[in-house]
């Protein structure tokens, strides 16, 4: 998926909102997690109720035969079939799988889908799942601009990326700016560099750190910082961000 695919909505104040659209990868990831959860829940019910029935229905095979379908089979089937609509309704467009995949459902206006929209979306799983392995849904998702399956088209819903991590960063930015006295852009660069430090090669991260320090203090030269070790550069970056963990 093109990483720039976005749902652009004009907010109620006139300021534009940009929702990054979840692609087939995020969708599939969320679905696989949810599928495992609902399968495990159904199996847990099946085995639990089967054991209970064996205990309470001992010596009465008629009771066991008559009740087994109602008490064992149907609730398990209902858990499996109603997992998506029930949880999307209760969790406002999310499911545990969607939460783990970092996606959520919104309407075309960026709002919360109504109960009717969620039910419609889930009814159309019958078509999206055709002829097996959600092939129709996957093809629809790959071939539409907003990466939606047929159920989403019918319900007017879109799966977007729920960026909760960046929202959490908002609380610590002002205190970092206040304590360090640095330009906010420099703080962001330093913070990002520290976060990515372990994943970067030594040459790359030391070069970036030196460039950043010369930007903070133009009197310093890259050559002067050439002798500072990798560990020292990292420590100096940490010292720049006093409030950072």
């Amino acid at each position: 998926m093109d990483g720039n695919e976005q749902l652009n909505v004009t907010g109620l104040t006139g300021i534009e909102l940009n929702f990054p659209i979840a692609g087939p990868g995020s969708r599939s990831y969320a679905f696989v997690i949810d599928w495992h959860i609902r399968l495990l829940l159904s199996l847990a019910w099946l085995s639990g109720s089967w054991m209970l029935l064996r205990v309470f229905g001992r010596g009465d095979p008629k009771f066991f035969a008559g009740s087994s379908g109602l008490i064992i089979g149907w609730p398990a089937l209902m858990i499996y079939l109603l997992y998506h609509p029930a949880l999307e309704l209760l969790m406002h467009g999310r499911t545990p799988g969607k939460r783990m995949a970092g996606v959520r459902l919104v309407t075309q206006r960026g709002g919360q889908p109504s109960a009717g929209a969620i039910l419609t979306r889930n009814v159309f799983r019958l078509v999206d799942a055709l002829p097996g392995l959600y092939l129709v849904g996957l093809i629809a998702c790959l071939s539409t601009a907003q990466r939606v399956r047929i159920g989403d088209m019918a319900a007017g819903t879109i799966l977007v990326i729920d960026n909760t991590e960046s929202a959490r960063a908002l609380a610590r930015i002002p205190s970092l700016v206040a304590k360090s006295g640095l330009d906010p852009r420099v703080i962001e660069l330093a913070s990002e560099l520290l976060e990515r430090w372990p994943s970067l090669s030594i040459e790359r991260r030391t070069a970036l750190a030196r460039a950043l320090f010369t930007r903070i203090n133009p009197a310093l030269s890259i050559d002067a910082l050439a002798t500072v070790s990798d560990a020292d550069l990292r420590q100096r970056l940490r010292d720049l961000l006093p409030a950072a963990a």
Binding site: T13, G111, A167, L170
Partner: protein, 326 residues
Amino acid sequence: MNSPTNGSTSAWIRSRERVWAEWSSTKRLPPRGLRVDQAQSYVEQYRALAGDLATARRLLPQSTTTAALESLYAASHTAIDRSSRQTLSSLRTLLLIRIPETMRVLRPAILWIALLFMSSAGAGFWLIAQYPELIGLVASSSMIDKVEHGQLWTEGLLNVAPSSMISLHILSNNIVVSLFAFCAGIFFGLGAIYITAINGLMLGALFAYTHQHGLDGELLKFVLAHGPVELSVMCIAAAAGSELGESLIRPDAPTRRESFHRAANRIGPALIACALLLIICGFIEGYISPDPAFPLGARAVIGLCYWILMLLFLRGSLHTAPAAKV
């Protein structure tokens, strides 16, 4: 909010420290049932967020601060832009107003689909009456075997499973078939038409086959109590599906996708009506239809009464409008 000048980005960010900390800790999705002042504070926060986002986009484009504000603004927008709570009154509106309205819209399509169903049933009857060997196309070998031994496949159903199980199995199966007939409308309505034709053909063929073995009366006795409503519901679901197809063939919106969405939204209540009617059908089919204790007359009365009840429900006639106060 103070609008910062070019040189005071840091000062602006520092000035927002308390507010942003508060926003970050606020529950992103406010619960329902807020007091007016609480709701207003959410709206105020949304407006303030929009202001800060506009400022951040100008001063710190493509920064963590802007991304964080974007994310909070989006979450706040989703929290505010939501439909009203589904209460008993909205359920009442759905059952008494929206469903009858939808049925009025669907009426011509239902008539055409019913005609198709009857024609297919007639065709199925004729086909098997002329070529009985083709029954293998619509009936399983166990069904054929039972009929050839002078028994209907529904006989002894209660010995195999309890009524509750039969009901649940039947009603869930019928609901899935109806939903599928609706959803299959996505294929330009052809899916709904195909499902109707196949079901009609099968019913006609089975009647012809049981007629040849002198069991048609027994089959009629079996279907009489639940059949009228069940078949009507199938026609309604298929008509709803054909309307979906119509929305794609002749869109009433700038795009087919928008037209499809509108049609699904408009027709949705019909499906809820279908599901409700099929639940009672399932119980009739589980408790009454396979029970030989019920005579033909009683079955006919049940079938007719339930069908009339269905008509009244779908027309919205079950509800009497309150008298206007002067």
